[in-house]
């Protein structure tokens, strides 16, 4: 039994044209048993900044709480909203502090630069090694399936509506091949002037 697949889950984030999207399933389960269908895995950390925390559910909640604490202090001291790249560095630092007893989380960050509104996505391993690709990032227990779907469906410069369709199809098809992910899904599309949040109709098995 792997600790990273104790609760299950799937998160994906993609870059589009002047927008980013991040999506996650909503299952909370313990091994094969599903216990809740409304478990939040994506958290808003700024007006154009979201973080997804797939992995062990208890660490999802704890890392979110501790990160929010650090972010609040940052915003009080700096008197401005944090940059996505800086935020990624903050997350990386938080995780590496626990290098020899880590949080079982492989975070995904998606956002727009507060000044230039340039799209940014990032994912890391459980000890904070960042990866900042130009296209998409995936996390959770069905990363192999998600990589396959994203590689096939993603193309550069998708408009927000098309990005929504693409990320939704990628997530749904991937979690339908994973026994411990799914049971509902949520998508956030982040644009310069608005954030759209939609719940997807998915298989509930």
């Amino acid at each position: 039994m792997s600790i990273m697949s104790y609760n299950g889950g799937a998160i994906v984030a993609m870059k589009g044209k002047n927008c980013v999207a991040i999506a996650a399933d909503k299952r909370f389960g313990i091994q094969a048993q599903t216990l809740a269908l409304d478990f939040q895995k994506i958290f808003e950390m700024g007006p154009h900044l979201f973080i997804g925390l797939p992995g062990l559910a208890t660490d999802t909640q704890t890392v979110h709480q501790r990160l929010k604490f650090r972010l609040n202090l940052y915003e009080l001291k700096e008197n401005r909203h944090i940059n996505p790249k800086t935020f990624a560095a903050m997350v990386s630092n938080l995780l590496y502090e626990r290098r020899f007893g880590p949080y079982f989380i492989e975070p995904i960050i998606a956002g727009l630069d507060p000044k230039t509104f340039e799209p940014y996505v990032c994912n890391m391993d459980l000890i904070g090694c960042p990866n900042e690709p130009e296209d998409f990032v995936v996390g959770g227990t069905c990363t192999e399936q998600l990589y396959g779907m994203c590689e096939t469906l993603w193309e550069p410069d998708l408009e927000p509506d098309d990005l929504f369709e693409t990320i939704s199809q990628a997530l749904i098809s991937a979690v339908d091949r994973d026994a411990i992910s799914g049971w509902g899904a949520v998508v956030h599309i982040i644009e310069k002037d608005k954030i759209t949040t939609k719940s997807l109709k998915t298989r509930m098995d």
């Binding site: 600790i3 409304d38 091949r177 026994a179």
Partner: protein
């Protein structure tokens, strides 16, 4: 990306050419499952979900777990896919031979006992939970449960597989003897839908079969047609 310890990573202890491989490349293929069989006046209704998993990867989402043994005898398979397929093939052979010797279709009790012989004598090597159901001339519709250790017991209603644990209460509350065929089909569909909703190892479609004197009639209830219950 770093891997602190293989226990954290979702990779198995299987090293293939120097690289660690994902769990589902080596995990045993199993039908963590929901299966069910119900007797009624004139026959039996059997049902199963359609999910096969290797670790947490869904290797087949349209599996047929209702396997024919003879024209009037079927079995519902749960546990290791390989083990249950092999056992069913062996039982089918024995029963075919037996029915030639007998000169008439074999009894469901005979099929159940052959399953039991295999599952009991090889109990340490097998992982097979089987429900045998069918119709014969002597006793009509019958359901026999042959779980992991190789017990064999006749019951009016049997549920099995990992998903069955979530629906014991539901079946105890809703089962009645001598339901009609239509009531049985609805009962099995509802039960399996509830199990599939809670159990990660069960899902896909509901496969149903009605076994009577006339033979088999199969049904499939696709995902969007499944009954939905409280989801919160």
């Amino acid at each position: 990306m770093a891997f602190v310890d293989r226990a954290y990573s979702g990779l198995s202890n299987n090293i293939h050419g120097g690289f660690e491989v994902p769990d589902w490349l080596s995990a045993e293929h199993s039908t963590g499952t929901s299966i069910m069989a119900v007797e009624y006046n004139g026959g039996v209704v059997i049902g199963a979900d359609s999910r096969s998993t290797t670790g947490s990867y869904i290797s087949n989402r349209f599996t047929d777990k209702l396997t024919q043994i003879t024209e009037h005898i079927y079995c519902c398979r749960s546990g290791s896919s390989a083990d249950t397929q092999a056992i069913a093939n062996i039982v089918r052979y024995h029963l075919d031979f037996h029915s030639i010797e007998l000169g008439e279709p074999p009894l469901v009790e005979a099929a159940a006992n052959i399953f039991r012989e295999l599952c009991y004598n090889y109990r340490d090597s097998l992982m097979a939970g089987i429900i045998v159901a069918g119709w014969d001339k002597r006793r009509g519709g019958q359901v026999y449960c042959v779980p992991l250790g190789g017990m064999c017991v006749r019951q009016p209603l049997a549920i099995g597989g990992s998903g069955s644990t979530y629906v014991y209460g539901y079946v105890d509350a809703h089962f009645k003897k001598d339901m009609s065929k239509k009531e049985c089909l609805e009962f099995v569909t509802n039960t399996l839908a509830l199990a599939m909703s809670r159990d990660g190892s069960s899902g896909g479609v509901v496969r149903l079969a009605d076994l009577t004197e006339k033979g088999i009639e199969r049904f499939t209830v696709l995902g969007d047609q499944l009954p939905r219950f409280y989801e919160g």
